[in-house]
Symmetry: C2
Subunit: 401 residues, 2 copies
């Protein structure tokens, strides 16, 4: 099952596997001109298994790296120097890409089916969360050497699928077990021997989760019942409690075209903005009481509900059939103030770190559209093959990504 | 008065002015090896007029740039690619330093006495706030070409000293006029013709100010009376109102050894942590009501009161004679949980972007000390000549710096 592909950085080091090539420059090329990395990013090309490398100051693509395998549900984290992208492919591939030299430096088939990963605050550890075989794996961020394999073993000997992985301070990671109704905190301060604390009976089938921007609150969505599981990670002995009992598909489930991504949840000021499941609404929740305080009608079933970095606006995209639209909510008035149509099949959005622009992937138009968030004027339009996730290097400097 | 010193980037370009030299590499050296810039920073050497360049992953100094003039009260902002540092010297010098090539690229004597600057979210404009002559100046961030000189003219024809400058979205900047009791918002969307809105009678002698992390709230401290001036920048017609009437030196002023820096104010969760003026206390204020809700006794007159990025801790340093100490406040319990003695004359602190470490400058020990914020263990100790301000490139991605 496991296939190890470690690429040599030395000049002349050969690429080992078919399909794993990077486009430029070749290994013998001179070093690229000096370039800052704070305004760079990658766009997932989900069909081609490639990355388009972009610069958010120039608002342009600056290169392309191919050979990353199945990126149909890929995610990315960045090294703390903002030079390397770690790409987690759906096929279990973990690939380290040097954005400056535009090459793959390491690639590892670490599982059969994977759903993302995280990086420690000190930049030393990369962790993958896996469906098959279920569990997490801990890697050295510099070499992709496997340091620990932590199976999510259940009482019956089977392994649970792992979802909702996020980094915590002090080389700890939190994640949820879809098949075991549990939340785990793995202390990797000794990376070769992680110590795992398991919170059990947190609710049926956690399917995704997020950490609040300050790293204090972990919230897992439940697929098997209504409501959410929440953990205050600042408590000495963290425990799960249930919040928002009405949140979910309800007792007579509505048709749900796509389960919302929790990772996009917007925390703005004292409110969280949540995608209603199956309803054309965004829910507004008080983060002190975790009571719903308002519902905002929107144009479809929301998928990503994302706050601009200043929290003044929340941007929403939608599932099929309304996924040609994006709506903008003004948070002080809690009203939709604009509806734009960036293109066909809007899959993802990413704000620049200080929020002046937003990049939007339109898969079926093979376009990434860049908008001024204040005026909603189109600032740039990039040709990208079937774009999905957009990830900027500034994520390296934030918790919970 | 004004002296223009534009350094050529071309090979062989000569350095024009005495004292303006960078250490390495010379202009003819080969390009440095590729390097990410997300984990870099600079430390002000206030006596030598130099920068020590540092890497927060290696926890080491990586170079030095000299010839920056009088850095006795200097501040720094960064280009949005995190490659260039703009250094505002007390003598009115504005210097652009390339951290990757470790050279000065441009240097401009733009005023006689300056107190800092800011950079627009799109990275295109750098603005300096000046005491002498009073006003702001707007520069092209790429060339340091002067685009606009905005005098802070008063009714009597004199110019006011400018303090508390911060960037706002959409190429706007906010600042305060010490001599005119006013707060100004300059819209530089047309950078050669800024449009200035002035709020008058905001309180006597604003001496410093800050913008909240989300860019919504501007708060100016008053030297001439008790209380603070606050502006909600999200209002259609922003206006100043007074808050915390008891905040200040009081009617029978205590001896104050050093006025606290407002820019360091900690906003953590729903509370702001403020240095009391002249008292050995940190004030806890509810940011909804702007009422004081608690006082925390500390070891001296606080100068910087800074939240770790997650808001779980607030770190405090002190004025003479207690400036050998730093105290750590746990915000959930609002108690001092640790006192450390990093060295003599602690002048400044800077947290790494995700808060795992803090860098502390100890001027009279010629040391920068790096601590693990969780364990308070010393992680590194760097020899730096009379260090004062510490600035990491991650500031490029935050508002209000």
């Amino acid at each position: 099952m496991k296939r190890r592909m470690l690429f040599s950085l030395a000049a002349g080091g050969s690429l080992l596997a078919t399909g794993c090539t990077s486009t430029r420059p070749p290994a013998s090329a001179p070093a690229p001109a000096p370039q800052g990395t704070g305004d760079l990013g990658v766009v997932i090309e989900r069909a081609a298994g490639a990355l388009t490398l972009i610069n958010t100051s120039q608002r342009a693509s600056i290169g392309r790296v191919t050979g990353l395998g199945d990126l149909s549900h890929a995610s990315v984290v960045f090294s703390r120097d903002e030079r390397f992208a770690y790409v987690f492919g759906r096929d279990g591939g973990l690939t380290r890409v040097d954005i400056l030299t535009q090459r793959i430096t390491h690639r590892e088939m670490q599982a059969g089916n994977s759903i993302g990963g995280a990086i420690s605050a000190d930049g030393s550890l990369v962790v993958a969360q896996n469906y098959q075989p279920g569990g997490i794996k801990v890697f050295d961020a510099g070499t992709l050497e496997l340091l620990a394999d932590v199976p999510a073993a259940m009482a019956d000997g089977k392994r649970s699928r792992v979802v909702g992985l996020a980094d915590l301070p002090e080389r700890r990671f939190v994640y949820s077990l879809f098949d075991a109704d549990a939340i785990c905190i793995a202390d990797c301060s000794n990376a070769r021997q992680p110590q795992v604390t398991t919170l059990e009976n947190i609710g049926r089938q956690p399917y995704d989760a997020l950490v609040s921007p300050n790293g204090r609150t972990y919230i897992a969505g439940l697929f098997g019942e209504d409501g959410l599981a929440m953990v205050d990670l600042w408590e000495d002995k963290p425990k799960a409690r249930r919040i928002l009992a009405g949140y979910g598909r309800g007792q007579q489930p509505l048709p749900v075209y796509k389960m919302p991504h929790l990772r996009g949840w917007a925390m703005a000021g004292r409110h969280a903005y949540l995608p209603a499941i199956g309803r054309h609404e965004v829910l507004v929740v008080d983060t002190g009481s975790w009571q719903e305080v308002a519902r905002i009608p929107v144009a479809g079933q929301p998928v990503f509900v994302m706050a601009r970095p200043d929290g003044r606006q929340v941007w929403v995209n939608f599932s099929v059939p309304d996924y040609n639209r994006v709506q903008v909510i003004d948070t002080p008035s809690q009203r939709v103030i604009d509806t734009i149509e960036p293109g066909k099949a809007v899959l993802h959005m990413e704000f620049t770190p200080r929020g002046e622009s937003v990049w939007i992937s339109c898969r079926d138009d093979n376009r990434v559209q860049v908008y001024d968030t204040h005026t909603r004027q189109l600032q740039a339009s990039l040709a990208v093959d079937a774009p999905s996730g957009i990830f900027f290097t500034a994520r390296a400097q934030r918790m919970g990504f």
